[in-house]
């Protein structure tokens, strides 16, 4: 029996310390999912906390034949989708990220080229902004696929969809992201051209 299953069993018997170990183990994955889904560190923190509270509440319903991480992320994804549906009309801002130091990205220590790393970082930020324009469930599928390397079967299990629905949602999301990426590039190019027209020569 692995450590995780032992903690789950102990937590199911009411051991809060064992559940705390599970929180410690999975906090980053759950937080990242919520952050990518909701776009804001504060909302992600709230959602991740709520995900663990719901998991604690429903621990007796956890099927041990399934992966605990998948089960946990499934709770998190459904909670975020519900939350997004509720605040559909509210203004969505992703510009506040990293401003208050409540969230940070794990640095890539193996990166040898700072310039390439900066470009990659910019692209990731751009992608993070573009993600918000996807349908909520499509976004959850994309996050599970690319951030967690979930298979289509695992995504289907977590999001309660059929495998073919997952496949078509992933394709739709990728197409939408490509479209948004193109639009973003066009508008950046337009902005650069406009700036150049109003610029005056330095010498």
């Amino acid at each position: 029996m692995n450590d995780e299953l032992a903690w789950v069993l102990q937590a199911q018997q009411g051991n809060d310390e064992a559940f705390a170990k599970l929180v410690e183990e999975h906090q980053t994955h759950v937080y990242n999912l919520c952050y990518r889904m909701l776009g804001e560190p504060e909302a992600a923190e709230d959602a991740a906390q709520e995900t663990f509270l719901r998991a604690y509440q429903n621990l007796h319903r956890y099927d041990q034949s399934r992966s605990f991480a998948t089960w946990l992320l499934s709770i998190g994804a459904h909670y975020c989708i519900d939350r997004l549906r509720r605040r559909k009309l509210a203004v969505f801002s992703v510009d506040e990220e990293n401003d208050d130091g409540t969230s940070f990205e794990i640095a890539d220590a193996s990166s040898p080229d700072p310039e390439a790393e900066t470009v990659k970082h910019e692209e990731r930020d751009r992608l993070h902004i573009l993600l918000k324009d996807l349908d909520d469930t499509d976004r959850a599928a994309v996050i599970m696929r690319y951030w967690y390397d979930f298979s289509e079967i695992e995504i289907a299990e977590a999001l309660k969809l059929t495998v073919s629905a997952v496949k078509s949602r992933l394709h739709r999301a990728r197409r939408a992201l490509a479209g948004l990426w193109q639009e973003d590039e066009h508008s950046s190019a337009r902005a650069r051209t406009e700036r150049r027209i109003h610029e005056s020569p330095a010498f």
Partner: protein, 176 residues
């Protein structure tokens, strides 16, 4: 512009041979859509995991303790209200009969028999009223109306059964 088979290769992340790679590179140079698809694919493959601020588990334990306390309070108040309400109801129902509590055993037996007779005659009256209604209703109701009524009853029955089933399965959230 025809994006096939390039779009399929990019979306499904298929392994391609060197010749196909050359074809894809040539297509990417002229097709901004497929180029964007490839760029987003690369960006998605280089994503990073965002981590919460330190002390997440401690904050969770605080939340859990607060939630448990709130739940205990809610249950306590629920139990108090339920008990109090039950006592008031009991007093209201049993009040008129409290005087007979001190009466002789003969009076007790008489009132018990009266209750039994009342219960049986009431049930008989309800059954008779029901059978009369069933006999009379078809002459008032059109077949369509009758079907609507039966469907409504069936719907309510189904709703009730599903609710009981969901509750028994534990789909209805329980307290922490």
């Amino acid at each position: 512009m025809n994006h096939q088979p390039f779009e399929d290769w990019l979306l499904n992340e298929k392994l391609i041979d060197p010749k196909q790679k050359l074809d894809l590179d040539a297509h990417l140079r002229i097709c901004s859509y497929c180029s964007a698809l490839a760029e987003t694919g690369k960006a998605l493959r280089s994503v990073k995991i965002a981590a919460p601020a330190t002390g997440f588990t401690a904050r969770f334990q605080t939340h859990l303790a607060a939630r448990k306390l709130a739940e205990r309070r809610r249950r306590l108040w629920g139990a108090i209200l339920f008990t109090f309400g039950g006592l008031v109801m009991l007093a209201w129902i049993a009040g008129p009969y409290l005087s007979s509590f001190f009466a002789s055993p003969a009076t007790w037996i008489t009132s018990l028999i009266e209750w039994g007779v009342f219960l049986i005659t009431t049930l008989q009256a309800i059954a008779q009223a029901g059978s009369v209604m069933l006999r009379v209703m078809p002459s008032f109701l059109t077949p369509f109306g009758f079907m609507v009524l039966v469907s409504a009853f069936a719907g309510f029955g189904l709703l009730w059964t599903v609710s009981i089933w969901r509750f028994a399965r534990g789909d209805v959230p329980r307290g922490v």
